[in-house]
């Protein structure tokens, strides 16, 4: 019983880090631009396909495809923002959330169908040589792929935080979030800030996609499920806190695996949604969110 439980907890945390990474990009975009990009799951899918094709055609290690997936999704994000989302950016916050949600929903259908058309409905996964490798410590098994994915998620969490805290561009992004008018009076081109933030958020989805295809599998219809997870985690962690988002991911991962352990794995998704509703009722700013930004 005890080993089973700790094994379960470890798996929950490892999976949760992936949820955290999946939500980080969504949260970055929403936090800066107030655009709710519900096509985030499709961006994750594209990252997954980038990894899959680079692995199967060029024989590149899935973890080494990360820069490629990032770059591809950064560019896709920049194009989507410039062509579509920049048109809703000037609306007042409330209608911006609603309009972007509708636009992104339409976009998700288009992206899904594009993937279906080009890459068929086949489920794809990557299995590098070390796929079955795992370590055992204290009678708990740690699969290498999952551990490496956890490390990747953690690295991107830290990198994003350092970028926002310490670089001039990161400070410009934070200033724009706090007060876009004062930011533009500093000489910051806020439209560039929005474009960059959207593209960074998409690039993070690309990274998450490489981990999804390495740990699980991908197919064109996967997007909605991942958007839901990212949304739950974003609300759970709270806005304006990147570490909060990551921890929100861990909480969702552990909740899901605890549900499978104690109740039944059929209920794991439901547990996440219940958690989501509870947080919305009792702590709408999220567990780690601040009301101010």
């Amino acid at each position: 019983m005890f080993e089973g439980l700790s094994q379960n907890l470890v798996f929950g945390i490892l999976v949760g880090s992936l949820y955290g990474l999946a939500a980080m990009g969504l949260s970055m975009i929403f936090g800066v631009t107030k655009l709710l990009n519900v096509a985030h799951g499709e961006l994750i899918m594209f990252g997954g396909y980038a990894c899959f094709w680079a692995f199967s055609l060029l024989d590149i290690d899935p973890f080494l495809t990360i820069p490629l997936a990032m770059l591809a999704l950064f560019l896709i994000g920049a194009v989507l923002y410039s062509l579509i989302f920049s048109r809703t950016i000037k609306l007042p916050d409330e209608s911006k959330v609603k309009n972007s949600l509708l636009v992104a929903f339409g976009l998700s259908v288009i992206l899904q169908n594009l993937a279906l058309r080009f890459w068929t409905a086949d489920e794809r996964g990557v299995t590098p040589a070390y796929y079955q490798t795992s370590f055992t410590a204290l009678e708990v098994r740690f699969p290498l792929v999952r551990l490496a994915s956890f490390a990747v998620a953690l690295i991107f969490l830290i990198a994003l935080r350092l970028f926002l805290k310490n670089t001039y561009t990161g400070k410009a992004i934070r200033a724009t979030v706090q007060n876009w008018e004062a930011a533009s009076l500093m000489g910051i081109d806020i439209h560039k800030v929005y474009l960059l933030s959207f593209s960074i958020g998409a690039a993070l989805a690309g990274v998450a996609g490489t981990l999804v295809v390495t740990n699980y599998s991908i197919q064109p219809a996967m997007g909605l499920g991942w958007t839901m997870k990212a949304l739950i985690v974003m609300v759970l962690g709270g806005l304006g806190s990147i570490p909060g988002t990551f921890i929100g991911g861990l909480i969702l991962g552990v909740t899901e695996s605890a549900t499978s352990f104690f109740i039944n794995s059929n209920y794991r998704e439901v547990a996440g949604l219940i958690l989501f509703v509870l947080v919305l009722i009792f702590r709408p700013q999220g567990l780690f969110g601040t009301k101010e930004s």
């Binding site: 400070k171 934070r174 004062a182 533009s184 009076l185 500093m186 000489g187 806020i190």
Partner: protein
């Protein structure tokens, strides 16, 4: 240096500014005074490019800036301390000042600018690592001005820098403005503190209901009967 030529400004269908013309010459302190809701802030916002004039023309150093975006206007050397400061409360004093020097032209001199700002406002130096949101009202206003100075402006616009300050601090604030002007910075000052700003300014404009209703040397305007009865009674 700055020339505004018969501009009109609307908020949706509501007109806020009618046919306003105004000039600021090199080295001057020009005051723009008027009662609440006269349109003073609107004029500064339109100069900074935050809103667009629907008629008329604004030029700065000979260049038409009527439809130039705000960040490019700062790059040209025209900065603003907005109403109530609008400092970045979630960042440290130092980060606020660094952001003041965001434009490429100012960024390379930022350590020299920082030293200068700390000389003008020693209080900011003491509190450089403090979160800006925890500063007092007077310190916030100092930070807002220091942040604008970091951009190395040629013309600085201040929107009610004395608002909410204790009388002794107001005096100190006006003294500071005089000092930075004497160091060569041209100033456009929006104020409700009519007496003090007319004494400080070389020239002044009187704004009411979105129109300029008076103009003259600062001290001359002070003796206008209408000004006296309206503001100094």
């Amino acid at each position: 240096m700055l020339s505004i030529d018969t501009i009109a400004v609307f908020y949706k269908e509501l007109q806020a500014i009618w046919d306003v013309s105004l000039d600021v010459n090199d080295g001057e302190i020009v005051a723009l005074v008027g009662p609440n809701g006269a349109g003073k802030t609107t004029i500064l916002r339109v100069i900074s490019g935050l809103i667009q004039p629907s008629a008329g023309k604004i030029s700065f150093q000979g260049q038409n800036i009527s439809h130039v975006p705000p960040h490019k206007i700062v790059e040209l050397g025209l900065s603003q301390v907005p109403e109530s400061g609008k400092i970045f409360t979630g960042m440290s004093v130092l980060e606020n000042l660094e952001l003041g020097a965001y434009v490429a032209r100012a960024r390379k001199d930022r350590s020299a600018s920082l030293a200068r700002v700390f000389e003008i406002f020693p209080r900011l130096a003491e509190r450089r690592n403090q979160l800006a949101g925890t500063l007092s009202g007077g310190e916030r206003q100092m930070l807002a001005i220091g942040r604008a100075l970091m951009s190395e402006p040629r013309l600085l616009m201040l929107d009610e820098p004395s608002f909410g300050l204790a009388p002794i601090l107001v005096e100190h604030m006006f003294e500071t403005i005089r000092k930075i002007n004497q160091q060569g910075l041209t100033i456009l000052l929006v104020e409700q503190n009519v007496q003090a700003s007319l004494e400080l300014a070389h020239r002044a404009y009187l704004l009411e209901n979105g129109r300029i209703v008076g103009e003259g040397k600062g001290k001359e305007l002070l003796s206008f009967e209408s000004v006296r009865s309206a503001y100094l009674a």
